[in-house]
């Protein structure tokens, strides 16, 4: 008697797993491509995606925006995607070393750092060196993330050593600390500053050219929709895509 009552339970478990499996495979059968892209590309790529759908009426795009290293980890662990666009070349190299990339990656944009402060720049910060003033609390990215290593390069280029109150793991967190008034200044990408609009005042870094972040894009080897994936890359590198990126504040690749 007890043995037979465990059978319905086992059946239910199998059914449940089957349902979960079913739903995900259904989406892939349509003309959908999956794009893994860095978080800083969210607004731009979403706009480019709309253009892609107009140009390719039967197709659609699914985005996964996250930290670049998270994306690489997911890809290495077997997540399926068609296109990969991290925020720096290091993470693309990791993907290449894991033999995930089809062909050669293409550089499609660049990003430089800038300083953001509270609107109106109350602490009168005019240069990178001003960030070391004693009454200024500054937040930067930790060295292990791309924007952090870029910040270090600028520190080396200007010969200043910053003393930040916090080293965040994502650029968004740095921006939030400034917009919420917790810190006086932060070092973020130009694109982040522009997206924040009137919530911050941006101060240009004269030496920003010392740390240019290059964004590569590539089609993945196991892409289910390789042709559509290539078309997406072309849209990004094409005239429309470049215009969108430039308006967002990205530089030329």
């Amino acid at each position: 008697m007890p043995k037979s009552s465990s059978l319905p339970l086992a059946l239910a478990a199998v059914l449940l797993l089957g349902l979960v499996g079913c739903s995900s495979s259904q989406e892939e059968s349509q003309n959908t491509i999956t794009v893994f892209a860095a978080a800083s590309l969210k607004d731009s790529f979403t706009e480019i995606g709309e253009r892609f759908k107009t140009d390719n009426p039967d197709a659609s795009v699914e985005f996964n925006f996250a930290g670049s290293s998270d994306l690489v980890t997911q890809l290495v662990q077997g997540a399926g995607a068609d296109v990969f666009a991290p925020a720096d070349t290091n993470n693309m190299v990791k993907a290449e070393q894991a033999d995930l990339v089809d062909g050669e990656p293409v550089n499609f944009a660049s990003n430089v750092l800038t300083i953001v402060t509270a609107p109106g720049n109350p602490k009168q910060i005019a240069s990178f060196a001003d960030l070391t003033k004693p009454d200024v609390s500054v937040v930067v990215c930790a060295a292990q993330v791309p924007c952090g290593s870029a910040t270090e390069k600028i520190e080396a280029a200007t010969g200043t050593q910053l003393n930040p109150v916090s080293e965040e793991s994502s650029v968004t967190d740095v921006l939030n600390k400034v917009t919420s008034g917790q810190a006086d200044a932060g070092v973020v990408y130009v694109t982040d500053a522009r997206a924040a609009g009137d919530d911050v005042a941006a101060v240009e870094i004269a030496e920003s050219g010392a740390a240019v972040n290059t964004y590569p894009i590539a089609v993945l080897k196991d892409a289910p929709q390789k042709d559509l994936a290539k078309k997406f890359v072309e849209t990004v590198t094409g005239e429309y895509g470049q215009k969108v990126l430039s308006e967002a504040g990205f530089g030329k690749p």
Partner: protein, 260 residues
């Protein structure tokens, strides 16, 4: 009591669900490199900071949580019921949201924080902020554990002690508190474990700076950007420390849960 045999199946599934990921993490560790990976200065600093802040926040939880638990246990009424529901808030809030709430309260522009800032007391980006974040998420654990124990114990013994001539404060120290010791022990262990693993609220409210606010979970989060092996090794370290605390101090109490 003999359980029906089919109950062991879902129980086993539940156990495996928790154990298998832990085993997977342990299996992935680069064991030859383990001591080097966890021995780096940043790792040791993070571990020490974690232990110090978790201890401090557990103490805060005890000092404020025990009286709160007793007040809730000995009183009934709408105000008490409301308080109890509010106490559940840190449990259901995503910790990051908890961190934002703390910012709105104690940050530079916060409800209370703006006055503190004017007085020259800065909380954000300090170790104090870490302790506050941990206390915020752990306090409900302690209060709920203790309130249950206090209700079970009841107030009969307190009444008897009063008839013997003991003043309320004496009753508290010699009767009420000793009888709650087991509940207190299990509540404190839970609070400590929760504080040790606290991440989202700390990151949002306190920031991340080596030696000041970068606790072990934050260190792991950072390491995984560049050195996944180090992140895994540190995760195993964190699990080991938690296991020592739980099994060494708490498991006996957690299992028996009795008053005597």
């Amino acid at each position: 009591m003999t359980l029906p045999r089919w109950i062991y199946l879902p129980a086993a599934v539940g156990a495996l669900f928790v154990v298998v990921p832990l085993v997977a993490v342990v299996a992935k560790v680069d064991w030859p490199q383990f001591w080097t990976l966890i021995g780096s200065e940043s790792s040791r600093t993070a571990l020490v900071l974690s232990l110090k802040t978790a201890t401090a926040s557990t103490l805060l939880c005890v000092v404020f949580g025990v009286p709160l638990a007793l007040v809730l246990a000995r009183n009934d009424g709408r105000a008490v019921r409301l308080m109890r529901s509010l106490l559940l808030l840190p449990l259901v809030l995503p910790p990051v949201v908890g961190g934002i709430a703390l910012l709105y309260a104690f940050g530079r522009l916060g409800l209370i924080g703006q006055y503190l800032d004017a007085a020259g007391i800065r909380i954000a980006f300090t170790t104090t902020a870490v302790v506050l974040a941990q206390t915020f998420v752990s306090l409900p654990f302690l209060v709920i554990a203790m309130e249950g124990a206090a209700r079970t114990a009841g107030s009969d013994y307190d009444v008897v002690a009063a008839t013997l001539g003991a003043r309320p404060t004496t009753v508290w120290w010699r009767v009420s508190l000793p009888l709650l010791a087991p509940g207190l022990a299990s509540g404190a262990v839970l609070a400590f474990a929760r504080s040790l693993g606290e991440f989202g609220a700390t990151l949002t409210f306190a920031g991340s700076r080596e030696g000041v606010t970068r606790t072990l979970p934050l260190e792991i989060y950072l390491q995984r950007e560049t050195d996944a092996d180090a992140a895994v090794a540190l995760s195993v370290l964190l699990v080991a420390v938690a296991a020592v605390v739980v099994f060494g101090l708490g498991a006996r109490r957690l299992r028996s849960g009795s008053m005597t």
